[in-house]
Amino acid sequence: MSDDTQVRLASLVEGADVMLFMKGSPLFPQCGFSSRAIAILQHLGTEFESVDVLQDQDVRQGIKAFSDWPTIPQLYVKGEFIGGSDIMMEMYESGELKELLVEKGIVPAA
């Protein structure tokens, strides 16, 4: 990964409280796993930003090394890598994802 890509990825993950690297857009996800990630974030009622990795090969390959994670989607909260869609689903079902967002002051507790 080039230094440029590294810097870009760092600024992307820091650029939003909740950032999802995905295939496609929230309106038109291009893969079932990305679609599931979007559904979870929408259920939690959190605002989020997304990056469509299909639009940028440097980001698509770079994010895998950056996060040390081989698959897309990838969720970052406040600059911290949380996991892919399976971890998101487990954390959603157990209530941990909501707790995390509340703890970070991203969604209200109620």
Binding site: G32, F33, D68, P70, T71, F81, G83, D86, E90
Partner: protein
């Protein structure tokens, strides 16, 4: 490109010898799988670390020939 369920199981067990591995072919097309991996070596690890250990066993196949793997990790019950 696709992978055989048995091959996925063998690879995971090569990396995590104590693991029990259940593979489900989700779509019946040899391309969309779910894996449930239970291993005592996951004890004390976060979900991220557990899944990274499985991904490490699968090497660069993950995201390559193996494009869709729904992954669940668990620690064996006492």
């Amino acid at each position: 490109m696709a992978m055989d369920a048995h091959e996925i199981e063998m690879l995971i067990r090569a990396g995590l010898p104590d693991a029990s591995v259940e593979i489900t072919d989700l779509a019946g097309d040899g391309d969309h799988y779910a894996a449930r991996v239970t291993s005592a070596s996951f004890r004390g690890q976060s979900r991220l670390q557990q899944q990274r250990a499985v991904y490490a066993a699968l090497g660069d196949r993950m995201g390559g020939v193996l494009h869709a793997l729904q992954l669940t990790t668990a620690i064996p019950q006492e």
